[in-house]
Symmetry: C2
Subunit: 216 residues, 2 copies
């Protein structure tokens, strides 16, 4: 897919070699993440709120209670900055100065559109659930009309966005490579703990496979 | 420590029972996180940038190249919204509607102060390194005067901040508890992968204990 993703706003300024403007690269990072940050301006001041999201094609969906300040602000069509960061490792250099992190991040600018079409709203709600856990939507009770009405869904088009990626070993100053200091990368990943079945279960039900074998 | 952390701006509006305004609770979340998000306003538009940070007492330090747009913007004394989110688990309810996440987040408002005092600057640089990995500062080459000059350090006072925390099992609608659907929590944690020693090492040096036994 070709989109005018690279604009004056999304162009990566620091370490420009790390910038990527390819839709597939951006979509892959979006699909792996779980919590994004939504930045917006209220009375001239910045507000950043963490929230869940889902993706369908070239749209990111966010949602919440219709009464939430974030959604009430965004629905007016103000500018939004969406960011997502996946931390992949600690980059441990020989000098304090060259310590870094390996990461993949997405920064996206745009205006949120209120999703009022019921079919699209249901598609977005499915995307939220499936984004968190593949296959979960089929296993659970679907939203009823009251829940659908109480949920505000906003769409953010993926049109002005960039990814920034750092990989690989530390890059030290040339004269530091001879120092007797260990250097390298400590990879970081997301791991799952032991599943905690709700103590309020009313029947014996096996833990589903997609919960037991969860990975992103 | 008692601070006027709870203000009109930091008051948690959605799910107010999840809000905490206690300094120790906030500091604990800050000390566990690795990457924060810095929100600020450029020409009326929101910008959110992920970055590393450190904490010393009631100050958060962020840093970067003096030429970075973020630091050049913040140094002018504009308002900043700092956020940090630790994801602790997926909350898998019986209904799609009641799916949630367990998390601990901090939202902090303030204005960044340029740290020009050399001793405080060095303290902050130590805090960055030690925040990433305890004991690393003693093992590596300290910043030299050129590196110190090339690094811009900003301090954000922890005075107007809140934590928001969700823990525990899903909360379903009363009539859904009888449904034959598995519900529970899948805990998520950060895990380390196999350490990757820099291929450009010039001597055989053991991987340090704090790298091998890394945990937060």
């Amino acid at each position: 897919m070709t989109l005018p993703l690279k604009t004056k706003k999304t162009q990566v300024r620091r370490a420009p070699k790390r910038g990527q403007y390819d839709f597939e690269a951006i979509a892959q990072i979006l699909d792996e993440g779980l919590v994004c940050q939504i930045g917006f301006v209220v009375e001239g001041r910045p507000v950043v709120i963490p929230t869940a999201y889902g993706r369908v094609g070239d749209k990111i969906y966010i949602h919440g209670a219709s009464a939430s300040r974030m959604l009430k602000s965004l629905i007016t069509g103000i500018e939004v900055c969406f960011t997502l960061t996946l931390l992949d490792g600690l980059v441990l250099a020989r000098s304090a100065y060259h310590h870094s992190m390996n990461y993949r991040s997405v920064v996206l600018f745009g205006k949120a559109e209120n999703v009022t079409d019921k079919a699209e709203k249901m598609t977005a709600l499915k995307a939220f659930t499936e984004h968190v856990m593949k296959g979960r939507w089929e296993d659970v009770r679907s939203p009823n009309p009251q829940e659908l009405a109480a949920t505000c869904v906003l769409a953010l088009p993926i049109t002005e966005a960039s990814a920034k990626i750092r990989t690989g070993p530390p890059v030290d100053a040339e004269e530091d490579y001879k120092l007797p200091i260990w250097a390298g990368v400590l990879p970081l990943t997301m791991a799952t703990g032991s599943v905690i079945t709700d103590p309020k279960m009313t029947a014996e039900i096996d833990i589903p496979e997609n919960v037991l074998d969860y990975h992103r």
